[in-house]
Symmetry: D2
Subunit: 345 residues, 4 copies
């Protein structure tokens, strides 16, 4: 049993890590830290966990965390992460960071969208934690920058096709729709029940910080600069993210051709399901799971490919993927702790 700690365990990504780790057959959750709730039983904050989690939230201490665990999940806001991660890495810990701080290869890009980076050296060795692409690097990594939820939902359907000869990589538009849990647990008017319920909106149009993240990964993977247009939207529901991607086609291509690219790329990947033709993903079908469902349709008249992905933003979009990364880093079965039967409704 590997000992694991969650830093920032009372936010939504944090509690989801707690949930998954508790059911993990090869991991033991030994510590949860929380600045806001230090000293309080975790099940006070999340009464669903009464009788299940007996841990009390701790204030963060590098020393105590390092003694308690060998794998550490940092579920902190960006900037806070880079203050904490280097010390843990120095102590030889394996770290999976859920913030944006270690997702970028190019520090200038991070700094253009976030703020001055205080641990640039670590960017060189940090691995982008998208296991369907970087499995081998993750195996050897000490530090994984866990992908953003939007990039996960955009990259998984796109990457298998980005180098296909029929794809116009300069034509990509990604239109994403996220449940409200993606905005986290911090209260704000934008996440106040009556301001979200029965409304639907776009936000940060063509200006979201996940845009450069996915552009960088896509460009590195394709070996050329790719920039896409990206618009996020807020859905009045708790969990789930659906992304619709539009790709121009340079040649006539059949649905079967597209299917073969996707099918072969994901043939042995446990968490990607390609929908049968004519069926499209629904966030309901992946809720609470680490699956990414992918569907597609060729729009023949307009020579475009429409790709659709669905994930649970808190699982494959955050904490499930983080545990998947842990499994790979430690040589455990990739699906360990992540094979819970989904709720059909």
């Amino acid at each position: 049993m590997v000992k694991a700690a969650v830093i920032g365990g009372t936010g939504y990504a944090g509690v989801e890590l707690v949930r998954i780790l508790l059911g993990h057959p090869h991991a033991e959750l030994t510590m949860i830290t929380s600045r806001q709730y230090a000293g309080r039983p975790f099940s006070d904050i999340y009464p669903a966990m009464a009788r299940i989690v007996n841990l009390t939230c701790q204030a963060f201490s590098e020393e105590a965390v390092s003694e308690a665990a060998e794998v550490i999940f940092t579920a902190l806001p960006h900037k806070a992460s880079m203050g904490v991660v280097p010390g843990l890495i120095d102590r030889g810990k394996r770290v999976i960071d859920l913030s944006a701080d270690f997702r970028f290869k190019d520090p200038a890009l991070y700094e253009a969208w976030y703020e001055p980076h205080q641990a640039k050296d670590l960017l060189k060795t940090a691995v982008y934690g998208l296991p369907e692409i970087y499995f081998d690097d993750i195996q050897k990594a000490s530090l994984v920058g866990n992908p953003g939820c939007y990039p996960t939902s955009v990259l998984l359907p796109l990457l298998p096709l980005i180098k296909a000869p029929f794809v116009d990589a300069d034509s990509i538009v990604a239109d994403s729709k996220s449940g409200t849990s993606g905005a986290g647990r911090s209260v704000s008017l934008a996440t106040h029940f009556c301001e979200v319920n029965e409304g639907f909106k776009a936000y940060k149009v063509a200006e979201h910080r996940h845009n450069p993240e996915m552009d960088e990964v896509l460009s590195l993977f394709a070996g050329r600069t790719i920039r896409m247009t990206f618009t996020p939207h807020l859905v009045p529901m708790t969990r789930g993210m659906l992304t619709t991607i539009y790709v121009g086609l340079k040649e006539d291509v059949s649905t079967r051709d597209v299917a073969s690219y996707l099918d072969s790329f994901y043939a042995d990947k446990p968490f990607v399901r390609i929908c049968p033709r004519g069926r499209f993903p629904n966030t309901m079908y992946v809720r609470g799971t680490n699956y990414c469902d992918i569907g597609f349709q060729v729009a023949e008249q307009t020579k475009r490919l429409v790709l659709i992905s669905a994930i649970d933003n808190l699982v494959k979009g955050a904490s499930g993927q983080a545990v998947q990364n842990m499994n790979i880093m430690l040589g455990l079965p990739e699906t360990a702790g992540l094979d819970q039967i989904p709720f059909p409704l």
Copy 2:
């Protein structure tokens, strides 16, 4: 006071017509027909209307309807409409049809997506009821084909820009998200509460019947064939439609340039609100109103324009627009009956 009847008054578009007409200062609702509920008080079907609507649902009879009203709203399924409308037109009535039956200029296009048309002659004189474009024609029309909800939400932001020199009209992608009331009142598993709630999905990807409708209108308006890629999605809420449109730019264009096109086009249109820059529409802000809110953003890096519209699918997307058409046909103030103060939440 003009006498008005609603044919098919117990569906969602029908009851919304009833609601609006009841509050209309120049109209009197004299008859509601319903195949399913003939003989029952309307307020039995919609208890919200107790004490407010005293009409009893009637079975449809051309003669009775024609005696009761001079303006007739047909809120029937497609095909049913074309069985009823010609007789009413023959009797000299003004008809606003909410089905797809009289929206197309080209009967072949209708027949390719729907079924054999039984009243092709009327297609020649029927006017497409988008008042922001066809005001003059609507003034003179006997028969108006009221636009679909998706086309309304797509066409209003696009039309002012479609002929602009910087717009690549072959690059258009429209990604729409609709509340569940758009699926109507007929029960089905797809609209069963537990199958919709807390889920988000795409459907009829690149195959929705509203796609040729908007392509035809756009092409006629632009004077050249335009085809766009269109994907509708279902939002777990009752009312509202948000559409995000992506348009390739052939030249550098500033936000200000785009604003001037929209502002001048809609300067004197009472039901279109252009959002201040940096603000984007939310379906919540138009709920229950006949407004179409339009926002936009230039994505400079990718040379695309993102247009966003929000409407209430049952009002500007159906029954409100139908009453707006009636007002224009009869020379009444365009906003009569449609100036209800919106609900802020």
Copy 3:
């Protein structure tokens, strides 16, 4: 046209007052104050109101408000109200206060549940603004304490029956369920979208401040001390309140007997609808309206009467009732501005 001002106009009760007053045929909204948003256009705070409300939020000033309006709605938190209301009354204004500060006859009761009262003298002349009971007093009042939402939903079904010989007034249990807008616009974890959505809970069980309010009114009306057991619950929806009341029966009583009490009490009351037997209220049927729908059932086996009421907590439970009170105070038609056709869905 009577000039009206809303003090605290950016909370949910405030904006609902703004909505109703804007559509009022005999009132003109001349000022909106807001501590938080002073200086900002009202439609910045509520974009739904763009083009409709042109007022800018003002900081409160007794002098400016008094110059601008003759009727003043104070939609402030309790305690804040009693700091503002006396000065306005001194200037001869008519005030309808939506806080708890002027609802109690007995200052000790207020102080036991709230805090020290700073304007006890006004309690003597303030009238409890439940028009179905205190119409005559409201006509003559300068200051109305507008009832709480829960008391409105409990008192309207109970009052007609409380003196009936078959009612055991010591047996009353009221179980209320409120939409989330009742918690107001101030952000908190308890009203954070993901903490409310898809959950249902009770709160302040037998300890809610509205309990003594309704006990006092009921006791004064019945001429004897009555205390009921009251439990509020939170429903994951925006608007609406449904209350289920259980009353022990001292004698056999038929549904018809109960109906006759309710029917005669409310025969000429415009905002109370008694449901036909076998039908029960649904908050959906009163949404956006000033109606209180009342249904009932005699549970013969257990000799209890079950009364059920539905209101829109923001309208009949707050701002609609406040405008109803204004109408009565000024001798206007009781329904003026409150006869908007309801939304069927």
Copy 4:
């Protein structure tokens, strides 16, 4: 591994059985029957189950089911169950029936509320499957009548207290609120999304069929006739049931006294959690679990005890409890397959 079959596996209780049995360490799901979907892969009906469930729905055949399984869950509508269960029992199978057909001891009571009973003999040996009360009988049972969701939520908080000297057993009122999944998967206007969403209503007031069921169990347990007043309500959410129970007190009793009754009764019961004082259950905290959370408050002024319970109507209210019964019948650990970590949101 015990072989289990689900008869009627595509309804909501059925699929929930499938979900739980798939994760059960000692059970193997060998057959799913469905009249409506016979011949179709189960994951066609529930795409969430793609890659997870490989079974195809079968038409029901007593012989085939009996060969495939030794424990059989019948998740059929009432009446259909009693046509199927006797044959399975004759073949020596263990049956857990989720309909109402085998819940009553008194056939006359069943017939008064349902219809003629065709398998009365089995009523004598069938055990009411509320394990917190009838554990010993369930251990020996061949046929378990799985309790209704409402009775489970009412009986668990009430039973420990019903014989307490301070409880007035003739004063009981139970006010229940259920998520919409309780209405099942059959489509109807009453469960159409737009008719449920943003509404709250009572139904079958004092006339619900679960009322006699709970009265019978309570009476048998208390050794005297008890009848309570019961009102069910519909909550616009998918899962969850909260019940608020009001009990008259014959003596002064403290919160501590009540706590001691509940605590001692449930000391060793794995699925009942008594809330700390001042905290009340929320359906969110039990969603997806087999827990029943119980909170309470003494209303001193009115001498009543308020009990509040929360369950997931599909788990402890149906399929989870059914699996709990199976575990007990087979001598497996009571919590086997039911210890999934709950979703915190």
